[in-house]
């Protein structure tokens, strides 16, 4: 099938050709980080046009969650950005909690912050590994995966799953940490900064790395804002926007951390920002662990949090204590979740991840809309690759850190 890009109006390419040379890249290309398909219009080896096609990983998660209860739909959010599922869980839970007006206990907030930052480190490690591998550095890939494995092992101890964690629940978290996990995390935070130094030794001043990243896909701050970039991709351009600082959620208002920003807005700056973010994430985990000992023995689920088995009906009887005997009995019928609409955004590793939920009072969300950073970032690819070589498009896809599971949903 011929691509439907507007190509006939421009005279480019070989003078005898009427059309420019169009190359199809993906969806099975290993460095498109999933199933991204790009139509590239080439003039020699220079890219003059790019048309991303998405939808190869569409599973209809937003529509699916309309037929599940709020706590069941949480499981689907694991599959959005499958590299940092804990962050997705947290964002969804924050949205539902805002809808229900629940206040999460401090210990649960600290635990969530820890797993979110672990997700950030693990996501950035995978990003660094694949980005370096795409550009041609094999050793970094191996070292990053070694350390990511450690994090996944800790996830396994925390909640029993390595990737699709489903760790949070509406009103808190599902399991408390054991002292073993806290010790292991302390060991990790001790060790990890030296590991980051290792990666930096390998590629920070490496001449091949510099040639492939410096001055590639420069995005000035205004353009980055206009393109809708968020997260490290925006901060690489020098805009210090971070949801954790602007609208603190969970325990981010209790901890100290810095928001690293770049200067030139090129691929190298975005790399530097992410490396620095890993250090800050490590620092946040450390502070949260110190605070965790203050809240020893506190519950991790909020008072009045819904059961995992939520009623699907519009109204359900409330559980109220019996006036004389202690046990709970059926009370008045109330809406399961208050009617209304809510938008909550969090700083996911990839960027600003937002959840917009409309409730009609029943136990199922009427509509769930996910503002996925990867979707917005993919729309920025054509702007960023124009005028670069074919090999640079690999660096651009890598530097934006897109995950197609989140983009297509």
């Amino acid at each position: 099938m011929a691509p439907t890009v507007e190509i006939h109006s421009r005279q480019i390419g070989h003078p005898e050709w009427e059309e420019p040379f169009v190359v199809n890249m993906g969806p099975q290309h290993p460095s498109t980080h999933g199933v991204l398909r790009l139509f590239l219009e080439l003039d020699g080896e220079t890219i003059v046009g790019c048309d991303p096609r998405i939808g190869y990983l569409h599973r209809g998660l937003e529509k699916l969650s309309e037929n599940l209860t709020y706590s069941q739909a949480l499981v689907l959010t694991d599959r959005l950005d499958y590299i940092s599922s804990a962050a997705n869980n947290t964002g969804y839970c924050l949205a539902v909690e805002k809808l229900m007006g629940l206040s999460v206990p401090r210990r649960a907030r600290l635990l969530r912050t820890i797993v979110c930052e672990m997700a950030r480190i693990s996501s950035h490690l995978l990003w660094l590994a694949t980005h370096a591998l795409d550009i041609g550095a094999m050793t970094v890939f191996l070292y990053c995966f070694r350390d990511r494995e450690w994090l996944l092992d800790i996830y396994e101890k925390i909640c029993g799953a390595r990737l699709t964690v489903s760790y949070t629940r509406i009103g808190g978290v599902r399991l408390d940490f054991t002292s073993e996990i806290v010790e292991e995390l302390y060991r990790f935070t001790e060790e990890f900064p030296s590991r980051i130094t290792d990666y930096e030794t390998l590629i920070d001043v490496n001449r091949i790395w510099l040639k492939r990243t410096k001055g590639i896909a420069v995005v000035p701050p205004e353009k980055a804002l206009n393109l809708g970039l968020t997260g490290p991709s925006l901060r690489g351009s020098g805009v210090p926007y971070d949801v954790r600082k602007f609208r603190p959620y969970d325990a981010y208002d209790e901890v100290e951390f810095e928001v690293p920003v770049g200067q030139n807005g090129d691929t190298y700056d975005r790399y530097r920002v992410r490396m620095e973010e890993m250090r800050q994430a490590n620092r946040i985990i450390r502070q949260c662990l110190d605070k965790l000992s203050e809240t020893e023995g506190e519950p991790v689920v909020a008072e009045g949090a819904p059961d995992l088995l939520m009623p699907e009906k519009k109204k359900a009887p409330q559980a109220v204590p019996h006036p004389k005997k202690g046990f709970l009995v059926k009370g008045a019928e109330v809406p399961v979740v208050p009617e209304g609409e809510v938008y909550v955004s969090i700083e996911a590793p990839k960027g600003e991840l937002g959840y917009y939920i409309v409730s009609d009072g029943s136990g199922k969300p009427w509509r769930v809309r996910v503002r996925a950073p990867s979707f917005v970032h993919i729309s920025a690819i054509p702007e960023m690759v124009k005028g670069h070589m074919v090999a640079d498009i690999i660096a651009v896809i890598g530097t934006l850190d897109v995950v197609l599971g989140e983009c297509d949903r």
Partner: protein, 178 residues
């Protein structure tokens, strides 16, 4: 780039020095089929139905809470009344493993801790039926799993740590290991 670095390749030498040092450090690779990593307690793996040591039957009481909470709706249960004792008997308990998302909701909501996601992760099949567990298969999974465990076995999701007691159903509050 300064000329000394350009001529002497200092950054490349530093990188190579690092990799050389790592060559003599302890390898982290696990040679999988020969050696295995320890599985964390509470790992959400292959399903099993807990066998009651007193009666020798499944512990399940057929309340259908797991079938209702399952996000992928992969649990199918059929119950009937025993005409003599008038008790609810689980006639059919089937798990479609190929649909399961391993969220662990079923073991968390079960009031009598009858279903468990075991720490066994090597289950494959040549046919679809191999991964369609009926009641006998689920009980066999449990026996197979329990033989490898230190007793008493206790799954963290049977009584989640940190969850206030009043949020749990009464039998779960005094849950003990098997």
């Amino acid at each position: 780039m300064n000329p000394i670095r350009t001529i002497f390749l200092t950054e490349i030498a530093r990188g190579l020095w690092l990799t050389l040092r790592k060559m003599f450090s302890r390898p982290v690779t696990v040679q999988y089929p020969e050696e295995r990593k320890p599985v964390a307690p509470g790992f959400r793996g292959r399903h099993a139905l807990v066998r009651d040591s007193e009666t020798g039957r499944e512990r399940c009481i057929g309340c259908l809470r797991c079938a209702k909470v399952c996000p992928s709706r992969c649990i199918h249960i059929e119950t009937e009344r025993d005409p003599e004792t008038k008790r609810l008997v689980v006639k059919r308990y089937e798990v479609e493993v190929l649909r399961c998302v391993f969220c662990g909701y079923c073991e968390e909501v079960c009031p009598v801790n009858a279903i468990v996601l075991t720490e066994f992760y090597e289950y494959v099949g040549y046919r679809r039926e191999d991964l369609y567990f009926d009641k006998e298969r689920l009980l066999a999974n449990w026996d197979e799993f329990l033989a490898t465990q230190k007793r008493p076995y206790f799954n963290p999701y049977w009584k989640p740590r940190g969850v206030p007691e009043k949020m749990l159903p009464a039998p779960k509050r005094k849950a003990e290991g098997v």
